[in-house]
């Protein structure tokens, strides 16, 4: 389940698990730029990779399990417009294009010129070697802007992406394996004192 961009120089661990933001020996084109945030997370889902790829490739499905996405509008086969919910009721928007698309295996994307938060990402779908389904591996990089507005956005995109990716992937797994997203939310919970 190796991926050419995701490994540290020594050992088989993914770059996103490195203790230091700029791991010594990482090939230059793979090491995150100063200020970039790199997030990686894998989850094994007990469904064929073709199913998972197809569900993800229809970006309009993403808000079903990605909690901070307000909407994704498809422009053409490679281009889409994303509206993301930011703190304090604000939204952040950008256009994105698909840079790699291998049916049943891989989708990679990056934001276009002019995005307030430059970002790129890829999701890989790999047969689990032990027959447990599909390993879904997401790798994201963000380059939050500077300035006052940037600070607010940075709060979302520097501290939150790892949490967001972790929770989004859990919801994706729940939805794909059980058909629903687990929740204990009210009305079943009692009123809070």
């Amino acid at each position: 389940m190796s991926s050419p961009i995701s490994h540290t120089a020594h050992g088989d661990a993914p770059l996103s698990s490195a203790k230091h933001p700029d791991p010594a020996g990482a090939p230059e084109h793979l090491a995150p730029q100063q200020g970039d945030v790199l997030v990686g997370r894998s989850v094994t889902i007990d469904r064929p990779r073709e199913d998972l790829y197809a569900f993800w490739r229809d970006f309009t499905n993403l808000p079903l399990f990605m909690r901070n996405i307000h909407s994704v509008t498809i422009q053409d086969s490679a281009h889409s417009h994303w509206v993301i919910e930011a703190p304090a009721g604000k939204t952040v928007e950008w256009d994105s294009k698909i840079t790699q698309d291998e049916a049943g295996r891989l989708i990679a994307w990056e934001s276009l010129e002019g995005a307030s938060v430059r970002n790129s990402g890829r999701v890989e779908f790999i047969d689990s070697p032990d027959g447990r389904g599909t390993v879904v591996r997401v790798t994201l990089t963000y380059d939050p802007p500077g300035g006052a507005v940037g600070k607010l956005i940075a709060k979302l995109f520097q501290k939150e992406p790892k949490i967001q990716a972790r929770q989004d992937l859990r919801r994706f797994k729940q939805l794909m394996e059980t058909g629903e997203v687990s929740t204990a939310r009210p009305p079943d919970a009692a009123p809070r004192a």
Partner: protein, 396 residues
């Protein structure tokens, strides 16, 4: 509806709260006919489990009648009687398919699963009425409850058998059974059980049912020891004797082949280590008081088996790792895979081979639930199990 809600240490109240509703397609709403207070609810009552919030509805041992079924649930029908497992399991993840239901990967909501991932390395399963570590799901000490993944957990109960004969399928009966099952009992085995609370007593019963040659039960409450004795166990009162020495002598110098810790994280005792535990817990250096477990590991024979159904949640110290390693003990533990055991245990109940009703000492209305907690906490000798009847109607 009315429900027993948690508000803080030793503060539980019956409040009027919103009725539960179907949220997800596979949900069902159950009208509770019988629900029990579990020994592990006392950990919540004592506030030794973190992530509780004021207003949480407690209760994870319950049964009742299906009153509403979600559009994606083709198993349950309105009017059916069911017992609901305390573990919420999706039935479709890798773990559920291995029958490791208490390790379900999907039932803890994505947002609350973070806490157990940080504490334990991986996110834990969802459960009813047992803090926000396990999802913050409203529990069943209430008139109604929403049951997620209700096409997997609830087991159908035939008419004509009273609630009290099957209620404990929800937790303590399979928990006692799994505790014994985890000992991989051989016909020549002597099994020692620490703690004669409900789980310990069911572990005694289960160990005999699974073929144990002898069972030795350990506690300090005379009435609970009498119950263990009535099931055929030999008993040790730890206030009267030194437990390891007694076990060594009772087993001809060999020691028990399998040892079950049915006490858990608030272990009693006046030995030096347990006093230190209490001091350290008071200043938050440790969370779990484990005198009983230390004794279990020291008393177990070389190459023996240790089973831990007792609940622990955090960290401890003075753990006898040397005795564990040098003696070559095997340890099995875990929250109970209730769904794995329910059908076989229901069959044994229906055949008259297992009786669980002996345990019930008190039957109260839901409105009296706070009294139930208080007496279960304070009068452990004679209050062995409290069953609440939210609708006040005996069921057959």
């Amino acid at each position: 509806m009315r429900a027993l809600t948690w508000h803080g240490k030793h503060d539980v109240r019956v409040d009027t709260v919103a009725d539960p509703q179907i949220v997800n397609p596979r949900d069902a709403i159950i009208k509770i006919t019988s629900t029990a207070i579990c020994g592990s609810d006392l950990h919540l009552y004592d506030h030794t489990i973190p992530t509780m919030k004021a207003g949480d509805v407690l209760g994870h041992e319950f049964m009742g009648e299906v009153v509403e079924v979600g559009p994606g649930n083709s198993k349950l029908k309105v009017g059916q009687r069911v017992v609901v497992p305390f573990v919420i399991a999706c039935g479709q993840c890798y773990f559920c398919k291995q029958q490791q239901f208490a390790a379900c990967d999907n039932s803890n909501p994505a947002e609350t699963a973070d806490m157990s991932e940080f504490l334990y390395g991986y996110p834990m399963t969802g459960a009813f009425g047992y803090s926000h570590l396990t999802g913050g799901y409203a529990g069943g000490q209430a008139e109604y409850v929403r049951v997620p993944y209700a096409d997997v957990g609830p087991i159908l109960i035939p008419d004509g058998i009273e609630d009290e004969k099957v209620l404990f399928l929800s937790d303590i009966l399979p928990t006692g059974w799994m505790a014994a099952d985890n000992c991989d009992i051989k016909a020549t085995d002597t099994v020692a059980v620490w703690g004669c609370g409900p789980v310990g007593l069911f572990a005694v019963q289960s160990a005999f049912a699974l073929g144990a040659h002898r069972v030795i039960a350990i506690d300090h409450f005379p009435h609970r020891l009498d119950l263990a004795k009535s099931m055929g166990a030999e008993v040790i009162n730890f206030e009267e004797v030194e437990v390891r020495e007694a076990l060594v002598e009772m087993t001809g110098g060999i020691g028990p082949d399998a040892c079950i810790d049915a006490v858990g994280m608030e272990s009693h005792g006046l030995t030096a280590d347990s006093v230190m535990d209490r001091v350290k817990a008071a200043v938050k250096l440790v969370t779990d008081q484990t005198h009983g477990l230390r004794q279990v590991i020291i008393a177990c024979r070389k190459g023996g088996k240790v089973s831990i159904p007792g609940v622990y949640g955090g960290v401890t110290d003075k753990f006898p790792i040397g005795a564990l390693m040098e003696k070559g003990l095997s340890i099995k533990s875990g929250q109970t895979h209730v769904q794995k055991y329910m059908q076989q245990l229901l069959d044994l109940i229906m055949e008259g081979k297992l009786d669980t009703t002996f345990l019930i000492s008190h039957r109260l209305s839901l409105e009296d639930a706070p009294t139930g907690y208080k007496i279960f906490k304070e009068r452990q000798n004679d209050v062995t199990k409290v069953v609440l009847k939210p609708d006040g109607v005996p069921r057959h």
